[in-house]
Symmetry: D2
Subunit: 437 residues, 4 copies
Amino acid sequence: MEQIDWISLEQELIALRREFHRYPEPGWMEFRTTARIIEELEALDIPVRYGHAIHTRDKMYGLPSARELEYGVERAATECARADLVESMTGGFTGCVAAIEGALPGPTVCVRFNIDCSAIDESTSPEHRPARDGWRSLHDECMHASGHDAQIAIAIGLARVLCARRSELRGRTVLLFEPASEGLRGAASLAGSLPQDCDYLIGCYIGLSDLPVGTVAAGVHGFQASTKFDVRFTGEASHASDLPETVKNALAAACSAVVHLQAIPRHSEGLSRLNVGTLHAGTGRNIIPGEAVMTLETRGGNAAINSYMEKSAYRICEACAGMHGCTCETTFQGFAGDAACDALFVRAIADTLRNLHGVEAVSEDVAIDCAEDITTLFHAVQSRGGQATELVFETSLRAPHYSSDFDFDEEVIPLAVRCLERIIRGAADYPRGERAE
Amino acid sequence: MEQIDWISLEQELIALRREFHRYPEPGWMEFRTTARIIEELEALDIPVRYGHAIHTRDKMYGLPSARELEYGVERAATECARADLVESMTGGFTGCVAAIEGALPGPTVCVRFNIDCSAIDESTSPEHRPARDGWRSLHDECMHASGHDAQIAIAIGLARVLCARRSELRGRTVLLFEPASEGLRGAASLAGSLPQDCDYLIGCYIGLSDLPVGTVAAGVHGFQASTKFDVRFTGEASHASDLPETVKNALAAACSAVVHLQAIPRHSEGLSRLNVGTLHAGTGRNIIPGEAVMTLETRGGNAAINSYMEKSAYRICEACAGMHGCTCETTFQGFAGDAACDALFVRAIADTLRNLHGVEAVSEDVAIDCAEDITTLFHAVQSRGGQATELVFETSLRAPHYSSDFDFDEEVIPLAVRCLERIIRGAADYPRGERAE
Amino acid sequence: MEQIDWISLEQELIALRREFHRYPEPGWMEFRTTARIIEELEALDIPVRYGHAIHTRDKMYGLPSARELEYGVERAATECARADLVESMTGGFTGCVAAIEGALPGPTVCVRFNIDCSAIDESTSPEHRPARDGWRSLHDECMHASGHDAQIAIAIGLARVLCARRSELRGRTVLLFEPASEGLRGAASLAGSLPQDCDYLIGCYIGLSDLPVGTVAAGVHGFQASTKFDVRFTGEASHASDLPETVKNALAAACSAVVHLQAIPRHSEGLSRLNVGTLHAGTGRNIIPGEAVMTLETRGGNAAINSYMEKSAYRICEACAGMHGCTCETTFQGFAGDAACDALFVRAIADTLRNLHGVEAVSEDVAIDCAEDITTLFHAVQSRGGQATELVFETSLRAPHYSSDFDFDEEVIPLAVRCLERIIRGAADYPRGERAE
Amino acid sequence: MEQIDWISLEQELIALRREFHRYPEPGWMEFRTTARIIEELEALDIPVRYGHAIHTRDKMYGLPSARELEYGVERAATECARADLVESMTGGFTGCVAAIEGALPGPTVCVRFNIDCSAIDESTSPEHRPARDGWRSLHDECMHASGHDAQIAIAIGLARVLCARRSELRGRTVLLFEPASEGLRGAASLAGSLPQDCDYLIGCYIGLSDLPVGTVAAGVHGFQASTKFDVRFTGEASHASDLPETVKNALAAACSAVVHLQAIPRHSEGLSRLNVGTLHAGTGRNIIPGEAVMTLETRGGNAAINSYMEKSAYRICEACAGMHGCTCETTFQGFAGDAACDALFVRAIADTLRNLHGVEAVSEDVAIDCAEDITTLFHAVQSRGGQATELVFETSLRAPHYSSDFDFDEEVIPLAVRCLERIIRGAADYPRGERAE
């Protein structure tokens, strides 16, 4: 068994995190990001699958336009991404799946890491460390503002330590680098790449509550169910002083819909939400708008509530389109169901972590209160008898997630590596079975 | 040829008008009114048709409820209406049709008179002549507030003078006493009683512009097309703190409909109107309304515009009901199309009237700008080659139509009798043919 | 100490309950009801206060119209209510407050009982026991459909047993007979009659969950905050074919308001509700409505949420009125805040009840999930250092509360008397202080 | 008096028209266009005023952004516009005013010509003559699609023929080259450059009804009044799963406004219109929109109706903003009032034209039924006792105005020059005075 030089590793992982931070790429466009991950993994002699091999084409939700995808490919090329790798991902087939085989028999543990960035312009303030120290995002309107750069660094760190100790490793560890997790788009396409025999699935969340590094949650609750979709209203453009009686005003239809979408009755079982995030309609002041496009999302405290919101939204859009002599068309863009972490698995992890150096507080259940498409992977694993959880690695935040000043204490990276390694190494001894509700 | 004692006749007609004024009856409930008309006509040996004989049952639009109709019958009985006559009208078969045959051959002239009252509480002010002089309405919420009492008196006066001179009368004169003209309800049912060979159709309007008696219009333009209908939205009543996600809120549906009914786009061809006159919904503050009922009407500068408004209204109500998980049901209550007076006929009448004592100003075309269901009779007559017009007999008004202080200069009654008699007697010499647009 | 003949008492209380059931009276109109309660109490030599003495005139929310109040007084007279008593309550000053002084020193315990009925037509079905056995409601649209008749019987029974054992009774017991609890109207007016030194306040609820008699809860949680109010929109009535550009359409304003009231955004802290229960507008199909009146209520999982809903509703109504050139006026009709039962008090009661014959299950905290204006009395008592709770006496229900077939197992009446007597007698030994959140 | 070589002139004017057609520039950005006009006029020794000298800065409505204006200047430079001229127009001060002094005393006649293009991508179809023959627009989204290129050519032609015969010309002719007539933006700024003593004002319209060249109208009626403005709703952006109770949703406010803007009641006096041409709101699917911007316009059959629509729109936007806790801000972008051509002037022109070679039909009054900001100039001239009219020069159209295939019979150019020259030369003999309604 090889010794890990933790001090060097920590420095290397932080350097890697900063590299990924400089080259943020949005969902389905993580060309350079994926290529670099593959290079790192192949350097460890880990077999990596990627491109068409790992995706289900008709579940790649919310793909950018062909033009945007092409731009992403070109940009990656100018940023020294290995050409053959980028080539294989053309069209949005980003992300990769790597398997580390232990020398000894044991369970199959999958760990999911997110790799895409957010559509945010990173701060240029001298107070903002990445700006001050020269590793701010090089891409306009792109920023790693929710710690996916840290997730990648953790994953590579984990690969290194597991490989270093492969001789004593029991079972197989599969690292899933999921593209397009923002917008709840990537998990469905990647779900087919989960091994059939997956015993344990783990996801990570970095910095939920602004607690210091050392606080770790072994499980969470409160996954919101959510659906993302677009609605296009189509009428007929005409001149504003023509025949008003023949008008098919798509903007009027969309606005009626917005008013009534806000008015979907509450749900007795819990939280329900709907947001029309954008609406764009019309071509000129004196032209009656023939087209209006809205992007929206529903959320629910559970899947039934979200489904209620979603169906109500469809009904309202259809009715409002019809009322104004227009039609409407809905395009599905992303989804997450609700889910529950498996209690036995969570408890076993908590027990593992309590004894670990650097971990100062372990909770078994914190409220995550957001939508995460890892729930799609949960369902896949749990339906075949596996267990799943999401860990939260707290880390002091310099600004909240999704703000242009987002930054965190990088000590969380080596700590997370250590925690995940210990869990994976201990998993062979974890109890099986009994599913949480 | 009998001499007419005009002075006595005038006194008698005014007395008759005041009698009818005291016993106003709403549409389809003119039981006492019709019975008295029939008595007057039969006293002149004029054959009168009434009851089921003159109506088309499925075109009796906007009938009161069975309970109201029954109440009307009972009230008529207590007010000395001849029992056999009322009996024959049970169920709303009011109004009558009388034919006066001239001794000489000639054209068939039909004259339409309205007989129903308005749903208005008559003024009790001592300034109001009927109140002061003791012939105010005896019926709550019932008032002859648009001169239909005068129309009846004119009709009876006309019958008397025509009968008196029957020996020199050329052709046949048919008097149509139309029930339920308010709300545009009665004409369709009565249209079948128009003689097939009707050459000329005449309607009257009393006091359009507050000009003095002596000003007469031989024709009008600007009949609005209009449709009257009710819409009932049905959802499901439930307690306000129950399961909001199952709500089928009929009030919410109706309110969405009202908002969008106001927003039907204008029409390029002219005037369009829609009014939701009443809305009633709900049973209690903490009960989600399971039912909402609105009464509404559309209007158009022509029939196409009205039809556009009506169809738009149906579409909106359906869409809003569906949007809220409710259903809606429409009940047709009345209708008037647009129409045009026949120019040749109008000119001939104008020529007749110009030479008549008491007539001081004759116009050929004033704007009526309202909806009148006589247009249904116009279409029936004109489609068979006949001609039609509506006369306006001006008379100083003490208050506008449909106000609780409405009253007018009764001199208009004998003048109108004189005018109509002269027109009917002259009609045999009128030109035929050529239809106005 | 006098012996209680429980068997006779039970029969008498059931007979009393059925008498009150036959003469249900709505809020602020409990003339006969109050008179009978006073007679019963005075027969026990208990001093009773009533009429103007116990009410704060400007807090008598949601009073019926003068005409309705007058009708209620007249009806009570025909139903043998003592004239002097009814006279003192004229104008709605119903309800009463009675104090039973124990022979020994001790705490002041107040018990609140409801006395008004619901606006429901009682079932005439032979399956419905009151109908079958001849004690169905004698009043149209009035029914004791939530057990207030039982509350009155329990109160009278409690008065009897406390009086019988007055020599050994420690402290003072105050019975509050609150009028108009339906609609959350009566408590505010009665709050001034709570003794300043009230140590304990108790309310009752009969039959929350259809469990059998013998199940009792010593405390509840989940009081919803709620506000009841009416909104009158005033515009200007005009004829539908007049000048649309001058229209001030009160119905249009109200409908815009309803649409937007449905769309008040959710609240992150919990349950929020709004219901427009009724809307009435307009006088005729062809008249643009000059007035529209809606009755509505808001609810919240806590007082802040309810306040948010209420303020949002005001803002929306004002805006929609202004948008349509109308004005609106709000009339407050009733209110309940949230509240919490005092944990020490609840526990003490639970301990008392657990040892009582006939009580088979005691819980300390059930969810009531509705709005109750006893919370106004809670606040008054708790703000002066007293403690409060609401008990639930379960009893098998033959139909749910507020249904026309509502009926229950009358064994709950003697059981509740027994429980309350034991609590009152034990209260001198209860711990003081420490308030629950 | 110089002889005009009409054949050469016609060819030159058509060539000029095609040159202007290739370089279309939108309102306030007619840099190259104006520079070329000035060159042409100065070549004739006509004094030309331009730049700040002819504009009223605070009436330059609907200016493009600084960035767009700058782009326009730069483009003009690359297209060989004279640098000193463009420099003087920087910031949007386009258009020019030229005066031709006759040798003899006489009236002052002003002729207004439009010079801006429409925001339309010109057709590339080989059926489209400009595309086929190589003089299609060189600018994306810019096209002379309503004949302003013809107006410029006519103006230059007119300048040439008037100069050629200056010795016999009575009075002064002022040519106004108005920028930004599309969107009703330019006239107010230019109105100050009208000579105080303007006796006659003439505008032109090319090809109203697809009649052949030779049909001319000496006057029009039916100028619509219209206002163009933008409304910006400002709320507060927030995350869709945050605190909904604090939401200030600008999109919701805008949509409520759109729904109610559609529902502004009709006007009894005539045509009323409102169009929300574009609405753009929001930044992302899961962000509650903090800003929404709409561009809209109102129209009225007369100025009072348009003002009613405009004021109603402001009221509705304010109310809807307030209802949703947002604010709104309105930016005025353009305006046209109603106006009437002066009957005596129209008749005199008609008489002039009837005798002119090439003119085959002259009407005195055709319905224009659109909004034109020349009405602002009408008012300025008429208020000082001058007379005004707009001529229509018909010309066979290959496609309607504002379509990407718009083209016309260029024979209209020399004909219009001839007509205008004859009118100007005859104007000294026209009657003065008496204003039309």
